[in-house]
């Protein structure tokens, strides 16, 4: 029991739609189990399309949603049995989230450093604002920023990439063991995306933090994750070592996803000719491999 950081046991989540008379149940997550080992930091990607239940699962791990059935145990604590403010703080000390939309992650009316300082003061018992500020600056340096750049700024004064870095720095300030990131780069510009993705790798290797990376993007998942889990309509259809699964998918759905990835390689196939300039029959090259 103790050698697991996270133990998800047969969790399900159903949502009821409609009211009183016309009730229908939607199974968002269906008996999903998964484990993360303690002391062995890794990046686990949960992959799925919209409606696959990946976000609901992530929210259950973050205790933002209560499972309909099944159990979640984080570092020895059963999430269902967790009561009281102290227990909640202790939980958030271990698990921190990164959200999809960096522009929405901070209150537009407040300065962003407020959240950084708050996190430090609440979770690590930092003595006073000035020691907290030192830690905040250090955390910002880990994500390639500094308190000088970020201090006193409102969210709209920072770019999406900067804000997502601040969000990661904030999570780091709680010194968590696990970070749950739901589509953390899908709204980040292409030129900045990989530096954020690489950051997750650094967190794993240098800070020993495990990361659950929720995404629809197979390519980035392949790039950074150690293990992956493919979800379809609430169930896990395939899971295992990222490279093995993505290079040789077994489940038909995984194969379908794998084939739908639009790869630049297709275009660099040598059969390409310059488009015909003479209009009517567009000289679109045959590209299907």
């Amino acid at each position: 029991m103790n050698d697991l950081l996270l133990d998800v046991m047969e969790v399900s989540k159903t949502f009821a739609r409609g009211r009183l008379l016309s009730r229908e149940k939607i199974v968002a997550v269906n008996k999903v189990s998964m484990q993360l080992a303690a002391g062995q930091p890794e990046i686990l990607a949960i992959i799925g399309e919209s409606g696959s239940g990946k976000t609901t699962l992530a929210r259950m791990i973050l205790n933002m949603e209560t499972p309909t059935s099944g159990r979640l145990v984080l570092d020895g604590t059963d999430l269902a049995a967790m009561g009281g403010n102290a227990a909640r703080l202790a939980f958030m000390h271990k698990v921190q989230p990164i959200f999809q939309n960096p522009f929405e992650s901070f209150n537009p009316l407040k300065r962003v450093e407020r959240y950084l300082l708050m996190t430090r003061l609440r979770f690590t018992g930092a003595a006073g604002e000035s020691t907290a500020a030192v830690a905040v600056d250090a955390a910002l340096h880990k994500v390639g920023l500094s308190l000088k750049e970020v201090g006193g700024r409102y969210p709209h004064e920072l770019s999406g990439g900067q804000l997502q870095r601040v969000a990661i720095a904030r999570a780091l300030l709680a010194e968590p063991k696990l970070i749950v990131a739901d589509e953390p780069v899908s709204m980040i510009d292409a030129s900045l995306r990989m530096s954020i993705v690489n950051l997750f790798r650094t967190l794993r290797d240098e800070l020993g933090i495990s990361i659950i990376y929720v995404t629809h993007d197979l390519a980035t998942a392949y790039y950074i994750s150690d293990r992956i889990m493919i979800m379809q309509k609430g169930s896990v259809v395939e899971s295992g070592d990222a490279r093995t699964v993505l290079k040789a998918p077994r489940h038909p759905y995984t194969r379908q996803l794998r084939e739908a990835v639009l790869l630049p390689e297709v275009a660099s196939a040598p059969a390409i000719v310059t488009p015909n300039m003479n209009g009517l029959s567009p000289g679109a090259p045959e590209r299907r491999a």
């Binding site: 399309e49 919209s50 770019s159 999406g160 990439g161 900067q162 510009d189 292409a190 030129s191 900045l192 995306r193 990989m194 530096s195 954020i196 993705v197 690489n198 629809h216 197979l218 390519a219 980035t220 392949y222 790039y223 490279r243 993505l246 290079k247 379908q256 996803l257 794998r258 084939e259 739908a260 990835v261 639009l262 790869l263 630049p264 390689e265 297709v266 275009a267 660099s268 196939a269 390409i272 310059t274 488009p275 015909n276 300039m277 003479n278 209009g279 009517l280 029959s281 567009p282 000289g283 679109a284 090259p285 590209r287």
Partner: protein
């Protein structure tokens, strides 16, 4: 005014469909005596040929959305066309849709020029059946009896693998993919010569996205339309476009046949965009670019990419590089590639 509407299937096949020359589109606001300008599109020139899918790639602040709005003639304050021209094969002499007469526009729109919009999940009127959208949009251009028209619509829907029953459905009764295909059918039913597609598949799941892209390609081949295809997703560009232009901070930085761009990117920005794309099966580390895209209210001097450019030299801070042909059909705006003097 020598404006005239030409048939898309006339004899001037070699004539390009759209020529954009040195377009400048700014957002200008003035309040409390302070004038501010955001130079969202600043000197963009390119040509869309007949029957090709011309791709435009750029990130969120690159100005690509403003460029699309300008071409579509959807100019509302504070957006202004400050300079340059846009000449369409089917509408010459005006220098852009925003200057065309109303009657002219009514004739052109949807018949010669249609759109597939960003977020086109929501382009169908939510309180009316899908059929009425087809009638409103296309019937005035196609004419004939309503019955014939409906037969035509049904036949066209089959091209996007939609059942005729979608016509009697309300938009909310269709799935996201079905709505997207209905929007695609709506945009192509008049067989327009030119289609502007703005992030048409961004909101779709990957499997559906691939299917819809295939349909766009199929219809485009059949009708011989030209498509201006805008998306930030390089994978989509690789899959569907014939030629590709890369936009950065309001200007084009590179343009070539899509395959050429992916095989031999010249501009340092493009190089990074392509080399940073992760690929399944490749384990080499990818690096993102340092810095952030510039604020267009106060862009960097000279080449707007120079603060983030690994190759930047002193001239890049001073002078603006122009697009020059590096090899046949491959244009790039970079001093490091084109050599020092800029012009």
């Amino acid at each position: 005014m020598h404006a005239s509407v030409e048939q898309p299937h006339g004899d001037q096949e070699a004539q390009p469909l759209l020529v954009v020359r040195d377009l400048q589109a700014y957002y200008r606001t003035s309040h409390a005596g302070v004038r501010r300008g955001i130079r969202a599109v600043d000197g963009v020139s390119f040509t869309v040929r007949r029957g090709e899918i011309y791709g435009l790639a750029g990130e969120s602040s690159s100005g690509k959305t403003t460029l699309i709005k300008s071409i579509a003639g959807a100019i509302k304050p504070p957006l202004e066309i400050v300079g340059g021209s846009m000449e369409f094969a089917f509408l010459s002499g005006y220098g852009g849709l925003h200057r065309a007469a109303r009657a002219e526009l009514e004739r052109i729109r949807w018949r010669h020029l249609s759109y597939i919009m960003q977020g086109s999940m929501n382009v169908l009127n939510p309180v009316r059946r899908v059929r009425s959208s087809f009638v409103d949009f296309a019937y005035p251009h196609i004419g004939g009896s309503l019955k014939q028209f409906e037969q035509l619509v049904v036949a066209h829907l089959a091209r996007v693998k939609l059942d005729p029953s979608v016509l009697t459905a309300f938009p909310h009764e269709l799935s996201g993919g079905m709505r997207q295909r209905a929007a695609l059918a709506l945009a192509t039913i008049c067989r327009p010569g030119f289609i502007i597609a703005d992030e048409p598949t961004t909101a779709l799941d990957v499997v559906v996205q691939k299917e819809v892209l295939g349909m766009i390609r199929g219809i485009q081949r059949e009708t011989g339309s030209s498509v201006l295809f805008v998306t930030h997703d390089m994978g989509v560009h690789a899959h569907i476009t014939d030629r590709l232009a890369i936009m950065y901070a309001g200007r084009l930085v590179e343009e070539a046949a899509t395959a050429e761009i992916f095989r031999n990117p010249l501009h340092p920005y493009t190089k990074n965009l392509i080399s940073s794309l992760p690929r399944i099966g490749e384990d080499a580390p990818r690096a993102g670019l340092a810095g952030a895209p510039p604020n267009l209210a106060d862009p960097p001097s000279g080449c707007r990419f120079h603060p983030r450019c690994p190759l930047a030299s002193e001239i890049c801070c001073r002078e603006v590089p122009v697009m020059r042909e590096a090899s046949s059909g491959h244009r790039v705006a970079c001093f490091a590639v084109n050599g020092g003097d800029g012009a």
